[in-house]
């Protein structure tokens, strides 16, 4: 049987793992697909290729389909998120100089203290903080605005969130163009290895269950290819389940270290996969629970409320109509297709497609089709609860 070719753009990051696994471990081929992975040099290049039809689908920052549907960005278009590929996985770091100033001011160096670390960071940079993120529409940017905004810094003015491509972050730090950065792995661990950065907080400490990357495709392409879309989603769900097995972690690390993917030693990649982060060049290992999820806790389910939170956050910052933005945002997370295409795999489905975001302090059993779904924790560090029906 000949395989149907599917072109999928990706950016070489640890969280492209489900795509790499779907291809290399044969899950795509079992669904009759030849998954052709196209490495992209930037998020804009990935977006352009998708919008202009050079790729069929893409590994995308979760806020990008939302922003594009709101007509924002350099090339707006109707792009949907078919499923969530990864939850959490970002990390915030500072230059060794800023870390030293924070320590001199009494910072304990604790890796999971968002309020305390945030206050020390604000004081160490004298109230005018410049932080690099990989893309203006990214969970990185949203988490920073939520975290530092809650602690009293708000943009524009005191907080300057700038787009700096991760390979250029060390240079920007060294020149004093930015004080801190928020990146996805392996870039944080890479900065530690190079001695250019020290990691101060995992993204999961700001929001315990933040959708990070999604599988995105053009709305029209999805409508025109329902059968292929189903096969693609099933291949990725099975790859995600494979990745969630601890026994497969070493193999996943080896696979990602190949030059076609990340091209860096697997020992750096393993830190994110295992949630054991080395925060400073001569530092100890910090255990970061919930550092990165590929499958557990219904991680792949595209909750409409997650998209609602992202849309609300963007709308507040750019002064758009919030209620309207939330409705538009919700519509591009396709929980309907997730249910239709993945139920046949026997995947447990939640009873609803929206939830209160941030309401679960601990792991919580919820109503589901097969009756054994555990969600959470999903809390925000400041206890915010986002109600998608009344933003």
């Amino acid at each position: 049987m000949s395989l149907t070719p599917i072109r999928c753009g990706f950016v070489p990051l640890v969280d492209c793992a489900p795509l790499a696994v779907a291809r290399e471990m044969g899950f795509a081929a079992e669904e009759g697909l030849e998954l052709i992975l196209e490495k992209q040099p930037s998020w804009s290049a990935l977006r352009d290729a998708l919008v202009l039809g050079l790729s069929d689908c893409a590994h995308m920052l979760s806020p990008v389909p939302v922003a594009m549907s709101l007509g924002l960005g350099g090339l707006p278009a109707r792009i949907d998120a078919l499923m969530v590929l990864s939850v959490n996985g970002n990390v915030i770091g500072v230059s060794p100089e800023v870390a030293a100033r924070m320590r001199a001011d009494g910072w304990s160096g604790a890796f999971r203290d968002p309020a305390g670390t945030g206050q020390h960071l604000i004081r160490a940079t004298e109230g005018s903080l410049r932080i690099g993120v990989p893309f203006p529409f990214s969970m990185h940017a949203e988490l920073l605005h939520h975290w530092l905004g809650t602690l009293g810094l708000s943009s524009p003015g005191a907080l300057d969130v700038r787009t700096v491509p991760p390979p250029l972050m060390p240079d920007a730090l060294a020149r004093g163009e930015i004080d801190a950065f928020c990146v996805g792995e392996p870039w944080g661990s890479y900065a530690v290895e190079q001695g250019t950065g020290e990691l101060i907080l995992p993204g999961a400490a700001i929001w315990a269950f933040a959708p990070e990357k999604v599988l995105a495709a053009r709305h029209d392409w999805i409508e025109e290819n329902p059968e292929t879309v189903g096969r693609l989603m099933r291949a990725l769900a099975r790859a995600a389940r494979w990745l969630s097995d601890r026994d497969n972690r070493a193999m996943a690390g080896d696979l990602l270290s190949k030059s076609g993917y990340l091209g860096i030693p697997s020992m750096i990649i393993d830190r994110a996969l295992a949630g054991r982060i080395i925060t400073a060049t001569r530092g100890l290992e910090a255990v970061a629970p919930n550092f990165l999820h590929f499958h557990a806790k219904a991680a792949n389910f595209p909750w409409r409320s997650q998209a609602g939170w992202i849309a609300d956050s963007i709308a507040r910052r750019l002064d758009l109509d919030r209620a309207e933005a939330v409705e538009t945002g919700k519509a591009c997370f396709r929980s309907d297709l997730y249910r239709r295409n993945l139920a046949p795999l026997g995947i447990d489905m939640p009873g609803a497609s929206e939830k209160l975001e941030g309401a679960m302090e601990h792991e919580t059993a919820v109503a589901s089709t097969r009756g054994h779904m555990i969600l959470g924790p999903d809390r925000f560090f400041d206890g915010t609860i986002f109600d998608p029906s009344a933003p």
């Binding site: 040099p41 930037s42 998020w43 804009s44 290049a45 352009d48 202009l52 050079l54 924002l72 960005g73 350099g74 090339l75 990989p134 893309f135 203006p136 529409f137 524009p156 700038r162 787009t163 700096v164 491509p165 390979p167 250029l168 240079d171 920007a172 020149r175 163009e177 750019l318």
Partner: protein
């Protein structure tokens, strides 16, 4: 008469930048600035306030330009990718040439068209230069690996350089692979056995 169009080119390689500037200057009377430094792009672009920004599709700094598409103040002029989404032919030609163009809102397509045509032509030349360079580089790398494999064979089997090469070529032909692939396999195996 409309004021001269302000064009910014983001390119750190001086030879490539010159090639593009020359092409644009021949096409019309433009105010052209080249930005070579990657980390200060956003700040410099904000000062320059160009009508058109041209950048290589493969340049990771493209993501920094995305901020320009979000107008944050009344004075800001939002930019969009490419000239005109209805002009698919130009868009496709630009992508194939490895060019992304950001253009301010409201600029007449007739004023942009000659800029795009000239830029596409020059970016095509640049991509060709790049692929030639890469071909030379990979040929050099292949020769190195073949030389190492020859050395290993000469040492292990006490044969001459010509005989070693003949052996590599024969093995490659028998297996339907390239000489460089067989050489690479041999070198990798030798390293493992060390």
């Amino acid at each position: 008469m409309a004021p001269r169009l302000k064009i910014a080119i983001v390119e750190k390689d001086e030879d490539r930048a010159r090639l593009i500037v020359d092409g644009l200057s021949a096409a019309g009377d433009y105010e052209i600035t080249v930005l070579g430094d990657q980390t200060t792009i956003t700040r410099r672009l904000a000062q320059l306030d160009p009508d058109v920004v041209l950048i290589d599709i493969a340049n990771p700094s493209r993501d920094s330009l995305e901020m320009l598409s979000i107008a944050s103040g009344a004075k800001d002029r939002p930019v969009a990718m490419f000239v005109d989404r209805s002009d698919d032919e130009t868009t496709r030609a630009a992508i194939e040439a490895g060019l992304s163009a950001y253009v301010v809102d409201g600029l007449a397509p007739a004023r942009i068209k000659p800029v795009m045509d000239a830029a596409i032509a020059r970016f095509n030349m640049v991509s060709q230069m790049k692929s030639e360079l890469e071909a030379v580089k990979s040929a050099l790398a292949e020769r190195k690996i073949v030389d190492r494999a020859k050395g290993l064979l000469m040492q292990a089997r006490g044969i001459s350089e010509d005989e070693a090469y003949t052996l590599l070529r024969k093995t490659a032909m028998d297996q339907g692979r390239k000489v460089a692939e067989v050489a690479q396999a041999l070198v990798t195996a030798a390293e493992l056995l060390k």
